[in-house]
Symmetry: C2
Subunit: 303 residues, 2 copies
Amino acid sequence: MFYAADWLDKILPGDCRDILPTLPEASVDLIVTSPPYADQRQHTYGGVRPDDYVDWFLPIAAELKRVLKPEGSFVLNIKERVVDGERHTYVLELIVALRKQGWLWTEEYIWHKRNSYPGKWPNRFRDAWERCLHFTKQKNFAMYQDAVRVPMGDWSQSRLRNLSDTDKRRDNSRVQSGFGKKIENWVGRELAYPDNVLHMATECANRNHSAAFPIELPSWFIKLFTQPNDIVLDPFIGSGTTAEAAIQLGRHYVGIELDAGYIQVAAERINAVTVQPQLLVVQEESELYDIVGVGELDTPKLG
Amino acid sequence: MFYAADWLDKILPGDCRDILPTLPEASVDLIVTSPPYADQRQHTYGGVRPDDYVDWFLPIAAELKRVLKPEGSFVLNIKERVVDGERHTYVLELIVALRKQGWLWTEEYIWHKRNSYPGKWPNRFRDAWERCLHFTKQKNFAMYQDAVRVPMGDWSQSRLRNLSDTDKRRDNSRVQSGFGKKIENWVGRELAYPDNVLHMATECANRNHSAAFPIELPSWFIKLFTQPNDIVLDPFIGSGTTAEAAIQLGRHYVGIELDAGYIQVAAERINAVTVQPQLLVVQEESELYDIVGVGELDTPKLG
DNA sequence: GTTCCGCATGAATCGATAG
DNA sequence: ACTATCGATTCATGCGGAA
């Protein structure tokens, strides 16, 4: 095995085309990234043109495939831009090309941006969604669905009324004791598995970082596709959102970033998170009873 | 010009591959359709296999292009199925092929199905979205954005997340009463343009017909891309949902359907709608205050 | 008349079984 | 090996009957 300290829990500065080859093969459990879209980030990646996008991304994807564990997942957040009045087809072509490269196009999740960018055009409405393409290396991959269950619809509330108060209280205390047998049953009445449409607001440019996606997005996929202590890679980590999400959830991270300004911002964010390890453990346990984000029901706790 | 009675406001029985060539060219303002998905509807179209889907659809699309007016729109509701653990790429290939045929891939709307088909699998969640691909023949096409504006504010925003049963029941009663008490809340409230994500529940078979899409879906696109008295074509009209939507909104329709059973169902639905013209006007006015479908703000009423 | 509960039903998908 | 069929899983919705 590789010695962890060399590349783990760091933001590696440089172009991921140079950095990725230095990482050991089959070492990463999950890749979540939002690469620079076509014509974006001209100062760093030179503003890849739509027509060149597939050719630019394919060698990077080949390295990602080498670095990813066999049972790992690759989540690519991307959306094609409008070129000359049309949606450009480079993302569609990229999917086909990645399959030719050996990736399995397992699923396409939709990120519905509740507060999308404002604006008005004569021929289209505001773009309120982006693709989260899920690729894997093999049909059997790691997926921890229980970690992202959500509250059920209203109808379950009336159904829950069937349970007597004592029943509910009994189950409750049993849950809090930590070893109740019926945790799954009780929880199962309130929680349902989500679907492949994610409703998340875009992150406001509140602090000194402007992230490509809200932290809930990498958090959701990290909970879904990894366990604590697993390794999450983001080859275009920008202001460090993926790293912050990984740390919060007790996972290791590897970030790669070319822009020095972003690296600085990310370092500050990461420092602010890591200094509170005890709080993090409490958060994870409390998630058991938090109706909004139940997680780690069937995964070992952090030591 | 063609004499209208020959083909207008009818459901033409037969295979659209045979019927479409009999329609005059550049005569239709909007095409909305949900063709049989791959491996579906084996009894009529023989269950087109995913690998053959593009070849099957392309000649139909060529006829659709001939029939559509230059400034018209073509909305294709479709979703690729899972084949061997992966999303099949035939829809992506179809988009590319349609562009080669001369169509412009202007936009991709997402239909978010709040009540998606249940089920649990180890490698994916329930599929809760479908594509509504918007193709046009030229960059300048007809679009009436004001017709689909929705009320602004916290109410409509919370609606985006989850529409509970009680909320919906309240909506219904408000509409049915015609001019309920809470109308004051909406009058004077500003209207906002929607985005490219549509939240609609699938139609249940509990209603007397089972349709591919809920009537709100064709209604929305008919309001967006046509004016009253325009012509709407659906070459796979099934149980007649598109026809009912067109009639309700004062548009002409042309439907094509191969299955005799569907034709019968569609005929009954259409009869039930057309005999109540006065009611329709009332519905249209009440839509002003209906959170679900605001329409006809700047278009002439039926008369 | 309301409100509530029970129940059937989907453009699904996987894995096992059978030809 | 490759295809066809079947059972199991799961939840929002609307309808009908009951309180």
